[in-house]
Amino acid sequence: MTTILKINQLSLCLRYAGISERILRGINLVIDSGEVHGLVGESGAGKSMLGQAILDILPRTAVIESGTIDFDGQNLLRLTPTQRRGLLGSEIALIPQDPMTALNPVRRIGQQLTDTLGLHLKLNRKDALDRACELLEEVRIKHPRRALRQYPHELSGGMRQRVLIAIAFSCKPRLIVADESTTALDVSVQRQVLRLIRELQVSSGTSILFITHDLGVVAKICDRVSIIHSGRILESGAVERIFSMPEHEYTRALLKATPRYDRSKHQFRPIPKELTSSLQSEAREYDRRIRDSVDA
């Protein structure tokens, strides 16, 4: 199995008004081709920031301090903006979090679907529309011809998310970053959408970095999973292994904190405060080491 994405010692901080706050602390992550890799962590763990770093949509205040993001053997951080733009949409794509806002409200679905097709596959307008229609069929949108002529507000949230999935898969990219892609959907739609993503992923052989805070979602869709906290990867491994034999204390706490219908609520334990604060102090310790090594 070949490696499609290899992140090595990636550190990133946010700088504003002279204050600098480290968000990612020496991240190492490997995604093989054809695998769905879950990235699980609580709010503020840095999981979305990692996705944004891969996609080059970091906020302006973010500064990458060190490390590499190797995609297919080339370091993305070394590429020129034009080279990176060439990869985005064609080789690396995004399934965004919120289907309500991620589509342009004043452009028809057809126009938005054909953007990538025209840009990367150089299809002409008619071929692009035909292809867009096929794509909508693949994501199970009924009446795809009509949907092409509709505006985003005329579609339901689930349908919009399907359109976004169609856009992400449109150029058969080799890596898709799914940033909380099912969080904004209700549970039943979430199931359908997850199944759809998995099907498309299997048939196209695309790798997916699936960012989520929901371990239930990870169990459904992921092959391997990495647990992130305070900008550090605590543990990586196959999903079955992580779920059955978690090595890190935080992973165990996280699994216990997941509500499950087959367990009584007495077995449900929130993550202990001491654990969170010890992880945070480890993060501070990391920052101190970096500072010392820079000073020395």
């Binding site: 996609l55 919120d98 991620a102 342009n104 409200p105 004043v106 452009r107 840009l119």
Partner: protein
């Protein structure tokens, strides 16, 4: 909600928006009047007949049948002059407003999208520009360029691009932070493509409102400049010239002012309604 009804056609939606209907009516009246002026006007607008000067409207006892709304100091037909005045009003409205819109939109998009130094420079220029009193500035400009219709148009463009620039800049700044622009980045669109494909379409409803309001303003400004004698030559029929002449005899023959003032109000109100109505029809967001 999933809208199961097919998208109603554009024409259908316009017909169900009273403001748009009224606005289109006003605009078509103005256009037809301007184009068909030679056939609509009962007399030559420049033809003088001193025997028939200051004729009152035809329903007054001293009125003449051939001059429906009376004549001015030189015996020229009021209706004919107003009809020909429409040409000047419309030309100024369309050309000046479009050019001001173009200039202001381009600069506003750049300022809002690129930010930083570009924004700083453009915004400061706009601030300085807007601190001048508009009418005074236009009079000075026309005085420098030289009187005439082209000077009026240039003056309006130079003064009023700031209106577009400010609003477009602010809206661009709002739009570019929205998720769909970030999505655009992730499918590999360049900055220019983001600006033109993603952000500009979101500004169209706004631009239509601004443009039609600006057309109204341009008509008023042309009238003001005609009024102070800095637009077209004094004998050329324009609404401003007519109002200016009417003002001199307002105590003796108040009806001279009536028609041109009505036309002015009619067109400005109509154009504003057109802007509001079209915004409703075009904007898929405010359309439900």
């Amino acid at each position: 909600m999933v809208n199961m009804r097919p998208d109603p056609s554009f024409v259908y939606r316009i017909c169900h928006e009273p403001r748009a209907v009224f606005g289109l009516f006003v605009l078509s009246v103005l256009t037809v009047t301007a184009l068909a002026a030679p056939w609509l006007a009962p007399h030559d607008p420049l033809e003088q007949d001193l025997l028939y000067s200051f004729l009152p409207p035809t329903w007054y006892p001293q009125g003449e049948g051939g001059y429906l709304l009376g004549t001015d100091n030189l015996g020229r037909d009021i209706i004919s002059r107003t009809v020909y005045g429409t040409r000047i009003a419309l030309v100024v409205a369309v050309i000046a407003a479009s050019l001001a819109c173009l200039l202001g939109t381009v600069l506003g998009l750049c300022a809002g999208f690129f930010g930083g130094k570009v924004d700083l420079i453009i915004s400061r220029v706009v601030d300085i520009w807007m601190s001048f009193p508009a009418v005074l500035l236009s009079i000075v400009l026309v005085a420098v360029i030289g009187a005439g219709l082209h000077a009026v148009i240039i003056a309006i463009v130079i003064i009023d691009w700031t209106r577009f620039c400010r609003v477009v800049r602010a809206e661009t700044m709002v739009q570019k932070e929205l998720d769909y622009v970030a999505s655009g980045v992730t499918i590999g669109l360049s900055r220019i493509q983001l600006l033109l494909n993603e952000i500009l379409p979101n500004l169209v409803p706004l631009l239509i409102v601004l443009l039609s309001m600006e057309m109204g303003i341009a008509i008023v400004v042309e009238t003001i400049l005609s009024f102070v004698g800095l637009s077209v030559a004094a004998d050329t029929p324009s609404w401003g010239n007519l109002i200016q002449e009417g003002r001199q005899y307002i105590h003796q023959v108040p009806w001279l002012l009536g028609l041109p003032v009505f036309c002015l109000i009619f067109s400005v109100v109509g154009l504003n309604a057109l802007g509001d109505g079209l915004k409703q029809v075009i904007d898929p967001v405010s359309r439900r």
